[in-house]
């Protein structure tokens, strides 16, 4: 008895490259012939319109921005061997450039404060205290609401924004007293007092305040539930515990960056 199994179907052998190319050319020929047959039935105007449409399509595809990937995290330019002894001018230039590069890099590095510095993200209402390049403290705060207060038609207008930029702690206060500006009375619908002593308010700024100029402070708040939201009239409100820590760690002169 034969042990060979019957072959039910032939397994297709892989087509050679030449055969595939031949088939592709055949398909292309047929498509071209069909296109010629189709266009020969069209009027001249229709042919011109079709040609214009094809050109427009090509122009559309070929117009725009052509993106290519840029490799990130690639190795730095390797230190090349020193210039050959014969070209002393080149060697001198390389050395001079190397020195200047090192000087500029050092000068840039020195821009980062060595001591404490404060960063305030007024959009996301976050305050960070840094020391050198280390994070010391991060806490939610409340920056300006951006609201506009109008005293009345043709009268004064206040915009409650926190200014962006670079500042410094100018002074530090314990148990600060708020001298209410005009807008605080206008906002409450109260008459503006003539007696300056009636402007002072105790306790509303919390235990501490760090003044950074032009009427702006980092201070405490009675509305801790609003921390993380823009709730102030331009000052930076901070919770009790982070404020204590900030007061303890940030001396007068501490840089403040608000963005």
């Amino acid at each position: 008895m034969s042990s060979r199994m019957p072959v039910d179907g032939a397994v297709a052998a892989p087509e050679s490259g030449a055969k595939v190319r031949e088939k592709t050319a055949e398909v292309a020929r047929r498509a071209a012939a069909a296109a010629v047959r189709f266009t020969s039935r069209l009027s001249l105007q229709a042919r011109l319109a079709l040609a214009a449409a094809l050109l427009l399509l090509l122009a559309w595809i070929g117009t725009g921005y052509d993106y290519e990937r840029v490799e990130t995290r690639e190795a730095a330019v390797p230190a090349a061997p020193p210039a050959r002894g014969g070209d002393r001018a080149l060697a001198r230039e390389l050395a001079r450039l190397g020195t200047e590069r090192a000087r500029l890099a050092a000068a840039l590095h020195q821009r980062v404060p060595r001591g404490p510095w404060i960063v305030i993200d007024q959009t996301h209402n976050r305050l960070r205290l840094m020391r050198g390049e280390s994070l010391v403290l991060e806490a939610p705060c409340s920056a300006g609401t951006g609201m506009v207060l109008k005293e009345g038609p043709g009268k004064r207008v206040w915009v409650f924004d926190t200014p962006r930029g670079h500042f410094r702690v100018i002074s530090k206060l314990q148990n600060p007293v708020w001298r209410r500006p005009d807008w605080a009375f206008v906002e409450e619908g109260e008459p503006i007092p003539k007696d300056p002593s009636l402007r002072f308010e105790y306790g509303s700024l919390g235990e501490y305040a760090l003044y950074f100029g032009d009427g702006y402070m980092i201070h405490g708040t009675l509305y801790e539930r609003l921390l993380g939201r823009p709730a102030s009239h331009g000052c930076i409100r901070l919770g009790r515990d982070p404020l204590r820590e900030l007061y303890r760690q940030a001396p007068v002169g501490t840089p403040i960056y608000v963005f």
Binding site: L58, W60, G62, T63, G64, Y65, D66, Y67, E68, R69, V70, E71, T72, E74, V77, A80, P81, A83, R84, D87, L90, L94, L97, E100, R101, L104, A105, A107, L108, R111, V112, P113, W117, D121, T123, H124, N125, T145, G146, M147, V148, L149, K150, E151, G152, R164, H166, V186, E187, E188, G189, E190, L226, G228, R229, P230, A231, P255, Y257, F259
Partner: protein, 237 residues
């Protein structure tokens, strides 16, 4: 005694080989020196540009192509840093013809960057209550967080005055708080704007960098980018 011709030939071959190897070695060394010189000059130009920016009062972005970081900076200090997932560079092409920028376009800082689409700030206006009225003023509404205030497009650009722009995309398409239809409309709009920009005559937008960030980072940049920001690109091959 005269040297044997075979020895003479050997000496000639050795001398020739020394000269040839010296010449090729010298050429290789010269090319390496030139490359090193170019790299150092480039690095110096970029460091000078960074020093200029760090000495100014304006906010700036520093895109480190080599380190894969995008940082918002002021006076040389990093205020916020974002990891770049991928970076792409594009030049405009018109009917398959590329319009390339000048070769030193990335050696200077780019200025007056503005967001496209612009971030609209919806300010609440309050009319002061009349002091003559006894009625207590209505309390102001609970302020919204940045996340509640600004919806972030799936892709946005920071266009600079000098022409180049930075396109920011979030991984996975971003724009999580936008409907599918809105994202589709955004896409079509961007595609049309791209073609219009590519066709623009004059200096125009000759180069565009597309950075892909995590959705949170892309949203954070869109919501908090200060106006008139500058850009410096370092480490671009």
């Amino acid at each position: 005694m005269r040297p044997a011709p075979s020895r003479l030939a050997l000496v000639a071959v050795l001398l020739g080989a020394t000269v040839v190897s010296g010449a090729t070695g010298g050429a290789a060394g010269g090319a390496a020196d030139d490359a090193r010189l170019r790299a150092l000059r480039r690095e110096r130009a970029l460091l000078r540009a960074q020093m200029d920016l760090a000495s100014g009062e304006r906010f700036y972005l520093r895109l480190d192509a080599r380190g894969g970081r995008l940082a918002l900076m002021l006076k040389g200090v990093v205020l916020g840093e974002y990891a770049v997932v991928s970076l792409q560079k594009a030049v405009p092409q018109v009917v398959f013809f590329e319009r390339r920028p000048p070769s030193d376009w990335d050696l200077r800082s780019l200025s007056r960057g503005r967001l496209e689409p612009a971030r609209e700030q919806d300010r609440i206006e309050i009319e002061a209550p009349n002091p003559a009225n006894d009625a207590s003023p209505t309390p102001p509404p609970i302020p919204k967080t940045a996340e509640e205030t600004y919806s972030v497009p799936s892709s946005f650009r920071v266009a600079f005055a000098e022409g180049p722009s930075l396109e920011v995309q979030a991984t996975g398409g971003g724009g999580r708080n936008r409907s599918l239809l809105r994202r589709l409309v955004d896409r079509i709009g961007l595609s049309l704007a791209d073609r219009a920009a590519a066709l623009q005559r004059g200096a125009g937008e000759r180069v565009r960098l597309r950075v892909t960030l995590s959705p949170d980072d892309a949203a954070a940049i869109y919501r908090s980018l200060p106006p008139d920001v500058s850009l410096l690109i370092v480490g671009l091959p």
